[in-house]
Symmetry: C2
DNA sequence: TTTAAAGTTTACCCATTGCTAAAATTCTTG
DNA sequence: CAAGAATTTTAGCAATGGGTAAACTTTAAA
C-alpha cells in the first residue's frame, strides 16, 4: 500500500531529448570560456573541471552527437544554437539558485558549491519560488 | 583570473570514503521497507526504484563491499550499524529538504521530486538554513 | 626553419549503473 | 510431496564517465 509508483532516478536518464547534468555543466563552461578568451579548447575545460583532456574529448564527442557543440580535429570547441540556448538556461538557473542560497544566509563559498549540485534538480516551479524569495528578501 | 581552482564534480566522485547518492537512496529505502514489512528483499527495491532486480543485486553487492549492508545468498537484505546511521541521516536530510520546499510554497508532488534530487547536494550549513526557514514559516 | 612545447587524438584500461536471458534456489500450493 | 510460481543469481551486453601511455598536430621559439 505504500510502494505506490516507482521512483525514477534522475541521473542519466534519457539521451538526446533531455540534457544530462554533465552536458549542462559543459555548455555553461564553454559559453563562459568562449566569452572570456574568444576560443574554448579542450585543455580549458580539463582545467575547469579537473579532469584529463581525454575525458573532455570524449564528453565533447557526445555533445557533438547530441547537437550541442561543433568542432573539428584540433580545432576549438563551439556551441550550436541549441548549445547556446541550453547554456543560457543553465546559467540563469545556476545564478538563481546561487542568489537564492545567498539570500537565505548561506555563505558565499558554500553557496557556490551547493548551487553547483542543486541546480540540476530544480524544477521550473521550484525555481519560480526561489525567484520570488529573492525578490522579497535581498 | 576566473578559472581559479578546478570545479570538482559532485557526482560519482570518490569510492569508499564518501557514500554515493545511490547508496544513500538505497539505505534509506531499505530502512523504510524493513520498517514497513519486516524484511527487505531485492524485489522490493526493484519495485521502489523501477529497475530490474539484477541491477539491485549488484548495487547491494557494492553496499556490502562498502560496509552498509549485510546479506547472504537468497536471504533478505539488512543494514549494518553504519548503514542504519547513513539511513537515518539521509532520511532526516530528505525530510528537511521536502518540508522546506513545501514551506516555500512548492506543490507536494513537485516538492517530492525535487527533494529527491536536491537532498544529496545540500551541505550541513545550507541544511541549517533550510531548518531555520521551516521554523520561521510553517 | 627546424625543433621543442603544447595541445589533441587514439588505443587501451577500469568502475558504475542500466538491461535481458537463462539458470538456480526458495516458497507456495494443489 | 511434487509442480509451478516467485525470487535470486549468473553470464553477457551497453553507455557513461574516469584514467594512462603514446602517437599525432599545431604552435611557438631559438
Amino acid at each position: 500500500m505504500n510502494e505506490s509508483q516507482p521512483i525514477k532516478r534522475r541521473h542519466r536518464k534519457t539521451r538526446a531529448d533531455h540534457a544530462s547534468e554533465l552536458a549542462e555543466d559543459y555548455v555553461e563552461a564553454i559559453a563562459e570560456i568562449s566569452a572570456a578568451k574568444e576560443v574554448c579548447r579542450a585543455v580549458d575545460l580539463a582545467g575547469r573541471f579537473g579532469v584529463s583532456s581525454v575525458t573532455v574529448n570524449r564528453t565533447i564527442a557526445r555533445l557533438v552527437r547530441d547537437g550541442y557543440v561543433t568542432t573539428q580535429p584540433y580545432a576549438p570547441i563551439e556551441l550550436t544554437d541549441l548549445g547556446q540556448k541550453l547554456a543560457r538556461q543553465s546559467k540563469r538557473r545556476h545564478e538563481t539558485v546561487f542568489q537564492f542560497l545567498l539570500a537565505l544566509g548561506v555563505s558565499e563559498s558554500v553557496a557556490a558549491i551547493d548551487a553547483e549540485g542543486i541546480e540540476h534538480h530544480v524544477s521550473p516551479e521550484t525555481l519560480r519560488k526561489f525567484q520570488a524569495y529573492i525578490e522579497r528578501h535581498g
